[in-house]
């Protein structure tokens, strides 16, 4: 208790799920590994804080934060307006696009606008046309998404009742149903999907249609604090900015996702797409 006492000497307890590779997962020896464990270590070192990462169920995580059992969440939480009401977010340390994934031999595999960037923060005729085509392709289809993700918001707003949406508790389950053919496609974060497609099971899957970003999908992945913990949060904000600027985030992304998931890269791509 002394060690975890007050002030700046206190060990910060960081909550994560630990079953969401490659963002964060657990090794057989119980060690947490993945993008976020690495990244939190780097941030804490920069801030000269001692941090301890603990794994817990997502169901208990926000409660644990609110009751002070943990001090921050590093679990690839996407920033959304709803979440911002109860959590205090830092600036994003990653910004990934959502991709549609389906079985290679599924009709949706040939969906229009393959690989094109749909940026919902930049409305215009191009976006409207793409949205129309997307709606057409997905009409009457079953799309699976992770329940606590931000993608269901997006799908609901964009597709309305055109497609039916299934909610999964973990991505692993959703992936299974995708492979089993219970759902036609999923919308998921590219950083998660790329490594999956490289595995044996993932070989049957393919990305299809446009890549989506912005709008209801939120403003990237960020650390979450108690709303009142502003001092701590701004310290981390600074550290995040610095690590983005010096390329640390880019390096980590290439290591874990085989791509650069930093907000800077996303910004560049979005600019290019226009």
């Amino acid at each position: 208790r002394d060690e975890e006492g007050k002030g700046a000497d206190r060990v910060l307890v960081v909550g994560t799920e630990g079953l969401y590779p490659p963002w964060n997962y657990t090794r057989p020896d119980g060690q947490l590994a993945g993008f976020e464990p690495d990244y939190v270590r780097i941030l804490c070192a920069r801030l000269h804080r001692r941090c301890r990462m603990v794994a817990m169920d997502w169901d208990g995580m926000v409660g644990a934060l609110q009751t002070g059992k943990i001090d921050l969440i590093a679990d690839s939480v996407q920033v959304t307006p709803e979440r911002s009401q109860v959590l205090g977010f830092t600036r994003p340390y990653a910004m990934t696009t959502g991709v549609f994934v389906t079985l290679r031999d599924h009709r949706l595999a040939g969906m229009a606008d393959k690989g094109a960037m749909m940026d919902f923060d930049r409305p215009g005729p191009a976006l409207t046309a793409m949205t129309g085509r997307l709606k057409g392709s997905l009409a009457g289809k079953v799309i699976g998404v992770e329940i606590s993700g931000a993608f269901d918001n997006f799908l609901n707003q964009t597709l309305g009742s055109g497609a039916s949406i299934r909610y999964y508790h973990t991505m692993g389950e959703r992936d299974l149903d995708l492979l089993n053919g219970r759902i036609d496609a999923t919308l998921e974060d590219e950083a998660y999907m790329r490594p999956l497609l490289a595995t044996r099971d993932g070989a049957a899957l393919t990305m299809a249609g446009p890549r989506v970003i912005g709008g209801a999908m939120g403003g990237g992945e960020a650390l979450a604090f108690r709303p009142g913990d502003t001092a701590l949060r701004s310290a981390f904000d600074g550290a995040i900015a610095a690590t983005i600027a010096d390329g640390t985030v880019r390096r980590l992304g290439l290591k874990w996702f085989r791509m650069d998931a930093s907000p800077a890269q996303a910004a560049a791509e979005r600019k290019g797409a226009r």
Binding site: G60, E82, L87, Y167, L176, D177
Partner: protein, 242 residues
């Protein structure tokens, strides 16, 4: 400002409550279907346990061992994801049924709870005084008559508290169906939580719904218990025995 926040709170809770209540039929349907299925199957299992054929007994024992011994959650996963991973199931004639998460949840619950109910019934069967069954034998009652007239009523009476337990547990177990995308009371609650992060408030609302359901069930069971044994209230001979 505080008033506005409170208003927002009230609207949120009211909306959530409404959404949750709309999901009650799913929960209730799942419960009723699997309760009936599990009771019938459980009765069958007890019959099999007392059967003369050793293989029949063995199968019943194995069934109970497997389904009582593993968590329902895992069973639901295995029925839903596991069976679907098998080619024959996916190509077979039952795929439309197995494709449906509600069906899979019902199937897993029926199998799992049948094992529990079989145990309860077995215990009650053993508690029936031997003389009562002998008297039935002695007047030539066949298996079915004996069962219907003597064994079942006494068994029911003896089993009712524990059987009621099982039913109440089943009501709540239906919530596990939400893990395979069924939008029952829990599924809806979790959806709301996923967006609002108000875990405790929303859970308490859902808990209220479950409490209502189980409360009604408990009342029903107590009524049944009183009906089955009207002399209990006479306090016959209980003068100082407590």
């Amino acid at each position: 400002m505080g008033g506005a926040a409170m208003n927002a709170d009230v609207t949120f809770l009211a909306d959530t409550a409404l959404a949750i209540v709309r999901a009650v039929p799913v929960t209730l349907g799942l419960f009723v279907a699997s309760a009936i299925g599990a009771s019938l199957l459980g009765g069958g299992l007890v019959a099999a346990l007392t059967a003369g054929l050793a293989p029949v007994r063995g199968i019943a024992r194995g069934w109970i061992f497997l389904f009582r011994g593993t968590p329902l959650l895992l069973q639901i996963f295995m029925v839903y994801y596991g069976l679907a991973a098998l080619g024959p199931v996916r190509q077979g004639p039952f795929w439309p049924a197995f494709r449906d998460p509600l069906f899979c949840a019902g199937l897993a619950m029926t199998c799992c709870c049948s094992a529990y109910i079989a145990e309860v019934l077995r215990g009650a069967l053993a508690a029936i005084p031997a003389g009562q069954i002998e008297a039935a034998l002695a007047c030539g009652m066949g298996r079915v008559t004996r069962l219907r007239l003597i064994v079942l009523p006494q068994m029911l009476r003896l089993a009712l508290p524990a059987y009621g337990n099982e039913l109440v547990m089943m009501v709540k177990s239906t919530s596990l169906a939400s893990t395979i995308t069924v939008l029952d009371v829990t599924g809806v609650a979790q959806q709301v939580i996923a967006h609002s992060y108000r875990t405790l408030d929303v859970f308490c609302l859902a808990a209220g719904v479950y409490l209502g359901l189980t409360g009604a069930l408990t009342a029903l069971l107590r009524w049944a218990e009183r009906r089955l044994d009207p002399t209990v209230s006479d306090g016959a001979g209980e003068g100082a025995s407590r």
